[in-house]
């Protein structure tokens, strides 16, 4: 009977290798097209049509990642806390929140863009600004963080909670000192996914953040993320090579952020190893 199921092994390996191969292929394609076109002038502080510098976009991207995680991180994780640790599992509120987050998760970027434009840019009269962009993507990544937090929390063995409550610890202490460390890796993978979503996003930003190429001086400024920068460079076919160079840098930045968050995660989640 070992033989009978061995095709599963083949299947699973094939799927895994396909995925990785595809990724290698894409990354290779980007690097192949991008790295040769990198130049020092692309990292000058100020953008001009001559240097098509990505520095302003790098800064904006980092600011937006930081700021939106600062909001969506706590809000999402706290929502997860509520859903798993507080809410009565039979309450009517629960499916509503779940439906809301699932729906938020499925709302297309372009709809987020339109919404952000209508609400933040026009209704609130913020104009195209980092504020508008940050708030829009904050809502966008919220469901990712919520659902990964929820999953991670649910997977924590109840006996651990019992152990903590049994010692007279309150919910808060139980959550923060016993449950959270165990759930950390799961939550972290959600955060990384969220960062990925921000970094890869363009449609939602074009309508909220705008696409100004100048260096940010306040959060009220318009700006562009790296992905938007790429889009802008490539759209008219004038700087296609440079746009691949930007994509290469984008990939390096993502790798860097992943490494960093793993490091942080290991710190937070290691407990007593």
């Amino acid at each position: 009977m070992t033989k009978k199921f061995s095709f599963i092994k083949i299947l699973v390996w094939a799927a895994g290798l396909f995925t990785l191969g595809m990724l290698l292929f894409i990354v290779g394609y980007i690097f192949y097209n991008g790295i040769p076109h990198l130049s020092a002038s692309m990292f000058e502080w100020d953008y001009s049509t001559g240097n098509v510098s990505m520095m302003p976009s790098i800064i904006s991207t980092l600011i937006i990642i930081g700021a939106s995680l600062l909001i969506a991180g706590p809000v999402g994780i706290f929502t997860g806390f509520y859903l798993v640790e507080y809410a009565d599992q039979k309450s009517k509120f629960l499916p509503i929140i779940r439906l809301a987050t699932d729906t938020l998760a499925a709302v297309p970027s372009i709809v987020y863009g339109l919404f952000g434009m209508l609400l933040f840019v026009y209704q609130f009269e913020w104009g195209y600004s980092h504020f508008a962009g940050i708030l829009t993507v904050t809502i966008m990544i919220l469901p990712i963080i919520i659902s990964s937090t929820e999953e991670a929390l649910r997977s924590v063995n109840d006996s651990l909670r019992m152990g903590s409550y049994g010692l007279g610890a309150g919910r808060l202490r139980t959550i923060f000192t016993v449950v959270l460390p165990v759930a950390m890796p799961g939550i972290l993978s959600g955060v990384i996914l969220a960062i990925g979503r921000i970094v890869g996003e363009s449609a939602a930003f074009i309508y909220t953040l705008g696409s100004s190429s100048s260096m940010i001086s306040s959060l009220g400024d318009s700006g562009r993320t790296l992905a938007v920068h790429m889009y802008m460079l490539s759209q008219e076919g004038l700087h296609v090579d440079e746009s691949y160079a930007v994509a290469s840098i984008l990939i390096l930045i993502v790798l860097f952020i992943n490494g960093l968050s793993n490091l942080i995660g290991n710190r937070l989640g290691s407990g007593g190893k």
Binding site: A15, G16, A106, L172, G186, R197
Partner: protein, 287 residues
């Protein structure tokens, strides 16, 4: 010692946070529906959704989004067929088959995959998939299969990331117990670990499908975007999202309203999808 005040206070903080996502969805609803629903009512629901002709700028404009509805459904279905099995299998690979040395490299790689901007996927597919499928299937190569393949690949990291997390969350004792009964690795994984992670995997799939329906910037480059109902896999289609993005930049007046109304339809789709899954999940989780 935590005072009772902090406990209660934080509880309300958590409730407020949980309510924020409801608030957000209501706001999005409001703004999108306010822009689109009046148009749909004017035009007539049937005439908007079941009309096959999309000619928004003609002198006698016709706003029928049936082709786009069909396009979205077909392309998403294709993406599910390609992306879900590969995604779930890959997550199993990552959780239970991947050797350590490979995992060190594969894990960040999958995360990276989620971060690559849509447009990059789009141009990649335009340069490599489109010619491939053109040679294979004839026509322009910008067709349902190309778009489905691309989307299937694009939703992989979403599915893999979350599924893997829930697979890993299944207690190891279950695995030991299964192996202790003489089940091999495959069976232990497929029959014990996989079902135990069912609910997590299902939400990963929902998220993935959501991404597939909502994806635009990449699909737009490879579907051909013809607003006509396809009758063959090698024909192009236009999806609801691409319809919005394609024309939003230029539309004004009723055309623009029609596009926002398209977003409304898209929305309703997503809600139907999610409610169905919520239902299925609740049913599935009870045994």
């Amino acid at each position: 010692m935590q005072s009772n005040f902090t406990e209660t206070f934080m509880k309300y903080v958590f409730i407020v946070c949980a309510s924020l996502s409801i608030l957000s969805i209501i706001l999005i609803f409001y703004f999108i529906f306010e822009g689109g629903v009046p148009f749909i009512l004017e035009e007539g629901i049937g005439n908007f959704i079941f009309n096959e002709v999309w000619r928004p700028t003609a002198s006698n404009p016709s706003f029928g989004i049936l082709p786009m509805v069909v396009g979205s459904l077909v392309v998403t279905a294709g993406a599910i067929i390609i992306g879900v099995p590969i995604g779930v299998l890959s997550s199993i690979f990552m959780a239970f088959y991947c050797p350590d040395w490979l995992y060190k490299f594969a894990k960040p790689a999958i995360n990276l995959m989620a971060s690559i901007p849509s447009i990059v996927y789009g141009y990649f597919a335009l340069r490599l998939f489109v010619p491939f499928f053109r040679d294979l299937m004839g026509g322009t190569g910008m067709n349902i299969v190309t778009a489905s393949t691309l989307l299937g690949i694009m939703i992989l990291p979403t599915i893999i990331g979350l599924s893997e997390a829930s697979l890993r969350a299944v207690p190891k004792e279950y695995y030991s117990a299964s192996v202790g009964l003489g089940a091999d690795h495959d069976r232990s994984v497929m029959r014990v670990m996989l079902p135990a992670a069912k609910s997590g995997i299902l939400s990963a799939i929902i998220l993935g499908i959501g991404r597939a329906i909502g994806e635009t910037m990449a699909v737009i480059l490879v579907t051909g975007n013809q607003p006509a109902i396809p009758n063959d896999l090698n024909q192009g289609v236009r999806t609801l999202t691409t319809n919005i993005v394609l024309e939003m930049g230029y539309a004004s007046g009723r055309h623009r309203e029609a596009l926002i109304a398209t977003a409304v339809v898209l929305f309703i789709f997503i809600i139907i999808l999610n409610t169905t899954f919520l239902f299925v999940k609740n049913r599935g989780g009870n045994d």
